[in-house]
């Protein structure tokens, strides 16, 4: 099966602007998009730059725009794409391009760090005791804890496109993960952090984030829980 890939290329040393380049090769329906990128890099053009590590949807490093949809290259099979047409590969939008499909993720991680993505509990643990969590509470956090920080959601959000200072769904999901953790003591602090003009209120329930999330997390539902929590706290 002949496959055509059109990839947005950008070399900061020679290019002023990104441009598309096309590659045709023999593919197989069970190849992932990542396999195809490897094939192109190893057999056609060694200068193609992209990030990947696990190749199995765990590390979150190969989020990219595949036929206009943000997804992981390693979790997208050719048989799920229309290979009769050219497959278009672009970097995720809304973040600066370093080279080809590699983005400068600093801003994404800064937003993630802003919500204090770690357990805060300053009460000393007494001897022979642990910080126990109920099954119900674990259940409540389970889905939000599946995030692999691929940035597909935040860069798919129209609110991010119009205002890239918007904290974004990934960071809000992480805020949920700790705000509703019964062992954590900094819920109020985190709620203050997201209750700003560039914070949670820029989410207009557009659902792009859910559509792009490779872990199929219902991100918008989690954001809504935070909005309700903030409203209950303030009103």
């Amino acid at each position: 099966m002949q496959v055509t890939f059109k990839i947005l290329r950008f070399n900061p040393e020679t290019d002023n602007e990104p441009h598309f380049e096309e590659y045709r090769f023999e593919g197989h329906e069970n190849m992932t998009v990542l396999d195809c990128l490897h094939k192109i890099k190893w057999e056609h053009d060694g200068s193609l730059a992209f990030r990947r590590s696990c190749a199995h949807g765990v590390c979150g490093s190969d989020g990219m725009r595949i036929n206009g949809r943000n997804h992981l290259a390693c979790s997208t099979l050719l048989k799920d794409l229309n290979t009769k047409k050219t497959i278009v590969i672009e970097p995720l939008p809304a973040l600066p391009i370093v080279k080809d499909l590699i983005l400068d993720m600093t801003d994404f991680y800064e937003k993630y760090k802003a919500v204090k993505p770690y357990l805060i509990n300053n009460t000393p643990v007494t001897e022979d005791s642990e910080r126990l969590q109920s099954n119900e509470n674990a259940e409540k956090l389970f889905e939000s804890a599946k995030c692999i920080l691929c940035a597909c959601c935040t860069t798919s959000c129209p609110s991010t496109w119009s205002n890239n200072n918007y904290i974004g769904p990934a960071a809000l999901l992480k805020a949920y993960r700790f705000v509703f953790d019964t062992r954590d003591e900094a819920a109020d602090e985190r709620l203050d952090i997201i209750d700003t003009p560039d914070g949670i209120w820029r989410c207009h329930t557009i659902f792009n984030c859910i559509e792009s999330c490779p872990k199929e997390i219902n991100i918008t539902w989690h954001i809504s829980q935070l909005k309700k929590e903030l409203s209950n706290r303030e009103l």
């Binding site: 890239n164 209120w201 303030e234």
Partner: protein, 128 residues
């Protein structure tokens, strides 16, 4: 870069009231559409409007529609502007225009309704 220091109070008020006013607007708008647009018999002549306005319930309903509609609409427009990165002079200009327009049109609407005379006689007939 995300600024996580907030000097402008919680955004939850605006969020909650947008939803509450939205819910009330659904109810009023359905009534408004049925009566004004799908029931030609209700009439749109001066006399017909005057007759409707004899009911204080109807006046209160219209006043609620004006106030909530203006709040909801302009707060919605403000929300859209906030989705963009604005410089502080732009923010101040836009919010000022919205508040002035909002107040002017709301007061104008309220005045229009309050100015409609009560002309009904005890027999229910209009005397004009």
């Amino acid at each position: 870069m995300y600024k996580h220091r907030n000097s402008q109070g919680s955004g939850s008020f605006s969020w909650v009231f947008q939803r509450i006013t939205g819910l009330i607007l659904v109810v009023i708008m359905i009534g408004h559409y049925i009566l004004m647009h799908y029931t030609p018999e209700s009439g749109h002549t001066y006399d017909a409007v005057l007759a409707r306005m004899q009911s204080n319930w109807y006046r209160v309903l219209d006043l609620t529609f004006i106030v909530l509609g203006m709040y909801h609409g302009l707060n919605g427009v403000w929300g859209i502007f906030r989705d963009y990165k604005l410089k502080s002079w732009q923010t101040i200009t836009i919010i000022s225009i919205l508040i002035i327009l909002g107040l002017a049109f709301t007061l104008w609407g309220i005045k229009t309704i309050l100015d409609i005379p009560y002309v009904q006689t005890s027999s229910g007939l209009l005397v004009k």
